[in-house]
């Protein structure tokens, strides 16, 4: 299947869009991932922070228990070494509270709770301090028993546990909340990465598929092109071979036709010589007809041979002064260049090759200054000979006989024309004009074989030019041939005077 250009462009656009979309998705995924990792780190830090608060709270509770336990030991024994854990707890507690304060700095509710906790701790520590100082008195033990019995201390410790528990619950709640949010976010990130990658994969797959299709199509069309080229080359070779064969064929046909024809003419001639006295006038006339016709056929064969040979000769192009060539051809054909009305168009500065204007007999031809040509000298000479002899032949009965030759550059070509005021031709049969053995006049009216114009056309076409003509019955004909302007600057500037 062949794609139109628009389809190809659309496909190329889609490939480009698909590729950049996949790239954008991958960049977004990378960005999301890095953002997610940052958040993950932050979340981990927050969770760690929460755990820290909880453990700090536990530490505080444990310090208070230590202080409480130590104080009780001291109440019972009165031994100062029992107070060692108490002193240590007292020393630890401010730092622990400070830590908690700074850890819950961002949470006003916990700050408030912390203040309440602090209140309870201070009260309890005051209580313990009073008890310890009471124990150092004489009757301290009893007083303490009485004070403990009031349950005041126990109440404070309960309140402390309660408060710590509340604060831990708050932190645990926060932890659960954060873990949940974190989990949600992680799952979002996971989904983004999953679907993003999937989309990018699909885009790339589609792009790949399109590219693959394009490459395959291109390979196929390349192969088709190569095949077509090969076929064309083979065809050209075949055509050349056929042409050669045809030319060889027409050549040998022409050659072999001459043998019997020579016999016909030769034996008719022998009869004329040997049996003249035995033939009456009518018999002699008939022999004459035989000989005339064999002569005519001989001319046909010669022209056919010339035409066949034309296809085989190589064109040796050179710059040609058409003025000189035309003057020579006119002289050869027994005509002369008219120096009357167009007297100053005398074509060449070399008078030796020109017929002297007024002394030569024969029809007069007017020649305008001719532009220089680029082509094969002998072939173009043949063209001029055929065209001018045609003009002379077909205008022979016109009075006065007029033939005009011109040639000037037109665009990229040089156009030469031969016009006459002779018999002309019917434009209706124009397509037969340049055909081989095609004639628009009978041989009785105007003798000829019908090969002259075919030769003209063949020569001009082989030069890369073209031929055409206009005509009207009884009013003359004008034949044109155009040669490509092969090298600029070789044109003749006209007639040197």
């Amino acid at each position: 299947m062949r794609l139109t250009l628009i389809e190809r462009l659309r496909q190329a656009n889609f490939v480009l869009i698909g590729f950049f979309a996949a790239l954008a998705i991958l960049v977004a995924i990378a960005w999301t991932s890095s953002l997610s990792i940052t958040r993950f780190e932050e979340g981990a830090r927050i969770i760690e922070h929460t755990h820290w608060v909880i453990s700090e709270l536990e530490g505080t509770a444990s310090s208070m228990k230590d202080a409480d336990g130590a104080a009780r030991g001291f109440y019972l024994t009165g031994l100062p070494e029992y107070l060692e854990p108490y002193d240590a707890a007292l020393e630890r507690l401010p730092a622990q509270l400070g830590t908690l304060r700074s850890l819950t700095n961002d949470n006003p509710a916990q700050q408030k709770n912390l203040s309440a906790l602090r209140e309870i701790i201070i009260n309890r520590l005051d209580n313990l301090k009073q008890n310890i100082s009471l124990r150092t008195q004489e009757d301290g033990a009893d007083l303490i028993t009485a004070r403990v019995a009031t349950g005041e201390g126990q109440k404070l410790m309960n309140a402390l546990r309660q408060q710590i528990s509340v604060m831990q619950e708050v932190e645990k709640g926060l932890l659960a909340e954060r873990a949940k949010a974190f989990e949600n976010e992680a799952s979002d990130t996971y989904l983004i990465i999953l679907f993003g990658n999937l989309a990018a994969f699909l885009m790339l797959a589609a792009t790949f598929w399109l590219l693959h299709k394009e490459v395959t199509a291109r390979r196929a069309s390349d192969a088709a092109l190569k095949r077509a080229n090969r076929a064309l080359l083979a065809q050209a070779g075949q055509l050349e071979a056929t042409n050669k064969e045809l030319e060889g064929f027409s050549y040998s046909i022409s050659h072999d036709l001459r043998i019997p024809l020579r016999a016909v003419d030769g034996y008719a001639h022998m009869i004329e010589e040997d049996y003249a006295d035995k033939l009456d006038e009518d018999g002699k006339r008939m022999l004459g007809v035989i000989r005339q016709n064999s002569t005519r056929m001989g001319n046909l064969i010669d022209d056919l041979l010339a035409f066949a040979r034309l296809g085989r000769t190589r064109i040796a192009a050179e710059a040609i002064d058409m003025n000189v060539m035309v003057a020579q051809v006119i002289a050869e054909l027994g005509a002369r260049v008219d120096t009357g009305a167009d007297a100053n168009v005398n074509a060449s500065d070399d008078p030796s090759i020109l017929p002297s204007p007024d002394s030569s007999p024969g029809p007069a031809i007017t020649v305008a200054p001719l532009a220089q040509a680029w082509g094969d000298r002998s072939l173009l000479r043949q063209v001029w000979t055929n065209l001018i002899s045609n003009a002379l032949k077909y205008s022979a009965k016109a009075s006065p006989q007029k033939i005009h030759i011109s040639g000037k550059p037109v665009g990229q070509e040089v156009v030469y024309s031969v016009a006459d005021n002779g018999a002309g031709f019917d434009m209706q049969y124009y397509d037969k004009l340049f055909g081989v053995f095609q004639r628009l006049h009978s041989a009785d009216e105007f003798p000829g074989t019908g090969v002259g114009l075919a030769i003209v056309q063949r020569v001009i076409v082989r030069h890369g030019g073209r031929v055409w003509a206009e005509g009207e019955i009884g009013r003359g004909a004008c034949f044109h041939f155009a040669l490509p302007d092969e090298s600029a600057g070789i044109r003749s500037e006209g007639t040197p005077t």
């Binding site: 001459r258 034996y267 022998m270 064969i301």
Partner: protein, 151 residues
């Protein structure tokens, strides 16, 4: 056949009508007395080299050989080549008399050493003129090195 064949003109021509017209034209100029017509190249080689039909036949040395180019079996070009390869035959004038105006035939004939290349005209008067002129020129006007009978 007589013991000895005296031949002035050897005409090698496969077309009987061409041969008859040629011989008639030459005869009218008095050149037909010692003329031998052979119908193809192999007969010509037999005559020139005393083989086949002409084995043992004593023949004179022709003053002129008229050779057609296109002939069956052995063509004129081949006969010409064989003549020019033979030391004693190569001095006999050879005129190629043919219907072929093919450039390659002309070139090859001259390359091999033909003395003349004549395209037979179709028109009878022209044909007679050309044949008799060639015959007169090469047999009457032209001088060739004097060579005796071949052994």
């Amino acid at each position: 056949m007589p013991d000895f064949l005296e031949i002035d003109i050897l005409l090698v021509e496969d077309t009987a009508t061409d041969a008859e017209m040629t011989m008639r034209a030459l005869r009218k100029k008095g050149l037909g007395d010692h003329l031998l017509w052979l119908k193809d190249g192999s007969e010509a080689l037999d005559f020139l080299f005393s083989t086949g039909e002409f084995a043992g036949q004593r023949v004179s040395r022709p003053k002129l050989i008229m050779l057609d180019v296109k002939m069956p079996k052995v063509d004129g070009i081949e006969v010409l080549r064989r003549i020019m390869q033979d030391e004693s035959l190569r001095t006999i004038p050879v005129v190629m008399l043919t219907s072929s105006a093919e450039e390659t035939d002309i070139l090859e004939s001259y390359r091999l050493g033909a003395n003349s290349y004549i395209v037979k005209p179709v028109e009878a008067n022209e044909f007679i003129r050309v044949v008799t002129e060639a015959g007169c020129y090469w047999t009457l006007m032209n001088r060739t090195p004097n060579a005796d009978l071949r052994p």
